[in-house]
């Protein structure tokens, strides 16, 4: 099953690239890299620590808005309905802020959320996603509400601006590789082993001298920082963001990816993100689905997949851990 899952998704990816040409694959690759960073980081919390969080998109949004607010270009004054200061920071100065801001928010949120478990945690994480969305939509003096923020800066190294899709893809993949490396280091460290023990039995591991709340808080913050990084990348890549990219639905789809790929496995999350992106784009080319329903059709497929997984394979495609 695991072998088959790998083979199917990877063959599908290669076939798709050959079919649609390299140009399209490059766009897809960036989308994949961003989703994959999100999925891998969420898996730290959901798969390794056992906290089913549906609020991850909030940290993604915080990263994206930090990037947008700091780097948005002044020349688009006419697009502004409510003046926000034009800071015009370079990308690489703003990216750390994206990461740190997401981390600080996670720390504050995590202190409150730390005492919740299981389904109550799911409920409050729903709450976080909705609160974050409300803030993006309604805190107009910072986010410009539904109008969104335009002209977000692309990364520039020295004088070399990563304008092209290929350059950005390479940059995004480097970021993904870094995130995967950090995640791998974490889950193979002693810290990671304690996380899995927390997932299995919080009270039992506490008796052996581990302060569970600190561990949960730490992994929650680390995971949120990675989501903030993904958000910064996303904002810079699209150069325009509005609150619609950070709705609760996206967060639920993200949980689908993580569970589909497999809990407590980094490779599974990469595979899940790849399957997800291919599913979306693959459906665009199916003749019997009208183009305006592609997103909905993908959602139906994911929903049904989720139900089937819970029935027959709760550990996902290549997972180690059964919910």
């Amino acid at each position: 099953m695991e072998l088959w899952a790998n083979l199917i998704v990877l063959t599908w990816a290669v076939a798709f690239m050959l079919w649609q040409g390299v140009g399209f694959a490059i766009t897809l690759g960036t989308v994949f890299a961003i989703w994959a960073i999100l999925a891998v980081s969420l898996n730290l919390v959901v798969g390794f620590t056992g906290l089913l969080s549906i609020g991850h998109i909030g940290f993604f949004g915080i990263g994206a808005y930090a990037m947008a607010f700091l780097t948005s270009d002044a020349s688009y004054e006419q697009l502004r309905t409510e003046a926000i200061p034009t800071l015009g920071w370079p990308f690489f100065a703003a990216l750390p802020v994206s990461v740190v801001l997401a981390g600080v928010t996670a720390l504050l949120v995590g202190i409150v959320f730390n005492r919740f478990r299981d389904d109550i945690f799911v409920l409050v994480s729903f709450g976080f996603a909705i609160i974050a969305f409300s803030v993006f939509l309604n805190l107009r003096s910072v986010t410009r509400g539904a109008f969104g923020i335009h002209e977000i800066e692309r990364p520039a190294i020295g004088g070399w601006v990563l304008d092209g899709e290929v350059e950005f893809l390479v940059f995004a993949l480097i970021c993904l590789a870094l995130v995967v490396l950090v995640c791998w280091l974490i889950v193979t460290s002693s810290f990671g082993r304690v996380l899995t023990a927390i997932r299995e039995d919080e009270e039992a591991i506490a008796v052996f001298g581990y302060q569970v709340t600190h561990y949960k808080l730490a992994v929650w913050v680390i995971s949120a920082m990675m989501a903030g990084l993904a958000g910064g990348l996303f904002g810079s890549w699209t150069t325009f963001i509005d609150p619609n990219s950070f709705i609760l639905l996206e967060s639920m789809l993200l949980v689908c990816i993580v569970i589909l790929g497999g809990l407590a496995t980094i490779w599974g999350s990469l595979l899940g993100a790849m399957a997800f992106v291919l599913l979306d784009e693959g459906m665009r080319f199916l003749p019997f689905i009208p183009s305006e329903f592609v997103g909905q059709a993908r959602q139906i497929v994911l929903g049904i997949l989720l139900v089937l997984l819970m029935l027959f394979r709760p550990q996902g495609l290549v997972g180690r851990y059964r919910l």
Partner: protein, 251 residues
């Protein structure tokens, strides 16, 4: 009496310890003192508060009243994650392993650094693997090292849990019914472990319903009834007392 004297005198003490669940007084103003070294057994009829006592001592349940003194340190609030610092660890009545990780990791997880940053940077060391192997061989689970804990039989799970407690190098071990439900072969193995630990100079406190073991192993006996101390003392002396016989045969 200075702190150092207290440290030498008792491993675990309680003063007026209380815990109630609704109207039920599971532990009712209980004051006991369990000396360092040797084996102490806690016995009593079902519902007499033995497991609750162990849960209170290890910080799994919050205290409703009274004091716990662990290794000479007086505590009104026992935090579970601080009990190893006070020299105490435990096993659970219903075995609580980390089901979906391997047998080896179940042991290794308690060997690693307790502080966040060092733990994040710490990789598995030779010391960890050697200690794990030693423990697993001791409880006879080395062949099973790569299976998941949930795949083990009941007896093996019980042994692994004892092994996990042994992995922690502390002075006092609280075993909640370590002999319950074991086949004779496994039972002998647990007994061996307990005796060897006593010989190493550690303090063992266990709950048991098995009267043969209670006659054979412990040096000291504590009898609870309805959350109160019925009597305590040397084993054969206690077992021949009238109130103990009554408590056991009366109902």
């Amino acid at each position: 009496m200075s702190a150092a004297d207290a440290r030498d005198a008792y491993a675990v003490e309680t003063i007026d310890l209380s815990k109630h669940f609704g109207a039920v007084r599971a532990v009712d103003e209980l004051s006991v003192s369990i000396p360092h070294e040797g084996i102490t057994s806690i016995v009593g009829p079902n519902g007499s508060g033995k497991s609750t006592l162990v849960n209170l001592l290890s910080g799994v349940l919050p205290l409703d009243g009274g004091l716990v003194i662990l290794d000479g340190v007086r505590l009104r609030v026992v935090k579970a994650h601080e009990t190893p610092e006070h020299g105490v660890t435990r096993t659970f009545q219903e075995v609580r392993l980390f089901d979906q990780i391997s047998v080896r990791d179940n042991i290794m997880v308690v060997l690693t650094s307790r502080r966040l940053l060092p733990a994040l940077l710490e990789r598995t060391t030779v010391a960890h693997t050697e200690r794990t192997e030693q423990i697993l061989r001791e409880v006879g689970m080395w062949e099973k090292r790569d299976s998941l804990a949930q795949e083990l039989s009941y007896g093996q799970r019980k042994l692994l849990e004892i092994g996990r407690a042994l992995a922690l190098d502390v002075r006092t071990y609280l075993f909640d019914e370590p002999f319950a439900g074991l086949f004779p072969e496994m039972l002998e193995r647990v007994k061996e472990i307990v005796v060897r630990m006593r010989d190493e100079g550690r303090t063992l406190i266990f709950i048991s319903h098995n009267m043969d073991i209670v006659r054979e192993l412990p040096d000291h006996l504590i009898v609870l009834d309805s959350g109160r101390l019925l009597t305590e003392g040397e084993v054969h002396d206690v077992l021949s007392r009238e109130e103990v016989i009554e408590a056991y045969l009366g109902d």
